[in-house]
């Protein structure tokens, strides 16, 4: 983080945050089956939240007190004036400082956050930090990945670090439906069926496929740009390594033993039910001819 002064300001806000008594407007929204009770300063903030969290009547899984950055005198430019996208975790699982949000944890299901409510990015980034433990209860996790349907309406999941080609292989899939190009939620159903749906958790990409339909995952691919197209199956330990490195929102050092066990168990279940390949590909549409033969 370049702007040390800004980091210290954010840390001071975080350290002094208490459970608010001035956020009196209650809104109940839902994302990927997780119901969130949000407390706001005024009614006019509800439309911005409803864009990310559509309204629901389900009992809340968690409570979120939400302040806009203007409450603390920040403009968006001042708040996000950092070159780094890195996330800073306070020890003891007490909270997070990031470029577009800070959040303090008061209990496993009680949080207070400060972010810019006029942009969706901050809220989505917060959700990627907030949701994983709740999603895992439902055998789901967010993967840094691109998800594209083949002609049989099966999903192909492409994994890799930033710059490995997720956006490239998505852009080459002209004749295919794309579910998401960056963050996708993968779910294990009935202990053996692995599915994904459109929409994911944030990102600029807007899918054309309904977000209520789930698609079975045919295969995972770890991307490697090359001058030829070919794939080969990965050994399970290697597949687990790549899957673990693609998980979003987990801090292993802050997790209790049961949660570690559950997450590792989820990873093992996924790779034992879906084949995992390394995919070498060149940057032209011929890769999709190969993938359709799989």
């Amino acid at each position: 983080m370049d702007n040390q002064d800004l980091y210290l300001k954010k840390k001071l806000i975080l350290d002094t945050l208490k459970i608010p008594n001035d956020l009196l407007v209650r809104y109940l929204g839902i994302v990927h089956g997780i119901s969130i009770e949000v407390y706001l300063l005024s009614d006019c903030q509800i439309p911005a939240i409803a864009k990310v969290l559509p309204p629901t009547y389900h009992n809340p899984h968690l409570t979120l007190y939400l302040y806009d950055i203007s409450k603390f005198g920040f403009t968006l430019e001042q708040w996000s004036d950092e070159a780094s996208q890195d996330c800073y975790f306070l020890s003891g699982d007490r909270g997070v400082i990031q470029r577009d949000f800070i959040v303090k944890k008061f209990a496993s299901n009680l949080f207070c956050t400060v972010l810019d409510m006029n942009t969706e990015d901050g809220m989505f980034n917060l959700l990627r930090w907030l949701l994983p433990p709740f999603l895992l209860v439902d055998q789901a996790a967010i993967l840094h990945s691109a998800a594209v349907l083949n002609f049989k309406q099966e999903a192909l999941l492409f994994l890799g670090y930033s710059g490995y080609g997720k956006t490239t292989i998505t852009s080459l899939a002209k004749q295919h439906d794309v579910l998401g190009d960056d963050m996708n939620m993968v779910r294990l159903e009935d202990k053996k069926r692995v599915v994904v749906s459109a929409g994911g958790v944030g990102g600029a990409f807007k899918p054309t496929v309904s977000m209520t339909i789930t698609f079975p995952i045919k295969a995972f691919f770890w991307l490697q740009q090359s001058n030829k197209n070919r794939y080969s199956i990965l050994p399970s330990a290697k597949a687990a390594q790549y899957l673990l490195s693609s998980l979003i929102g987990w801090q292993w050092r802050e997790m209790d033993e049961q949660l570690k066990y559950n997450l590792m168990n989820w990873v093992n279940s996924i790779i034992s039910n879906v084949p995992f390949y390394i995919l070498e590909f060149k940057k032209d549409k011929t890769i999709w001819d190969l993938l359709e033969q799989l």
């Binding site: 050994p235 399970s236 330990a237 290697k238 687990a240 390594q241 673990l244 490195s245 801090q251 292993w252 050092r253 997790m255 570690k260 590792m264 990873v267 093992n268």
Partner: protein, 85 residues
């Protein structure tokens, strides 16, 4: 020689994936590395283990020693094992 206590071991047949929960880094161990990993403990004797490794995988002592040194160096640098705790 000690395996640090913040390591999660995940075994798959003859291979293994180690996760260091402090650094958040994973370490893939192939069949040979997994065989060595399973035998690392306080009674670690490098020469003895190299001899056993030669027999198990039908390799020369020099290759066994080189493989073991490479693995131990990697695991120590990755804070997966420690010699002085």
């Amino acid at each position: 020689m000690l395996k640090r206590n913040n390591i999660i071991e995940n075994y798959f047949d003859d291979e293994c994936l180690l996760l260091n929960t402090s650094t958040q880094k994973t370490h893939y161990l192939n069949e040979v590395a997994t065989w060595i990993w399973k035998r690392l403990d306080n009674s670690f004797d490098k020469k003895k283990l190299c001899c056993e490794l030669c027999e198990e995988f039908d390799i020369s002592y020099d290759i066994a020693l080189r493989d073991m040194d490479e693995l131990l160096l990697h695991l120590e640098q990755a804070m997966v094992i420690s010699y002085n705790e």
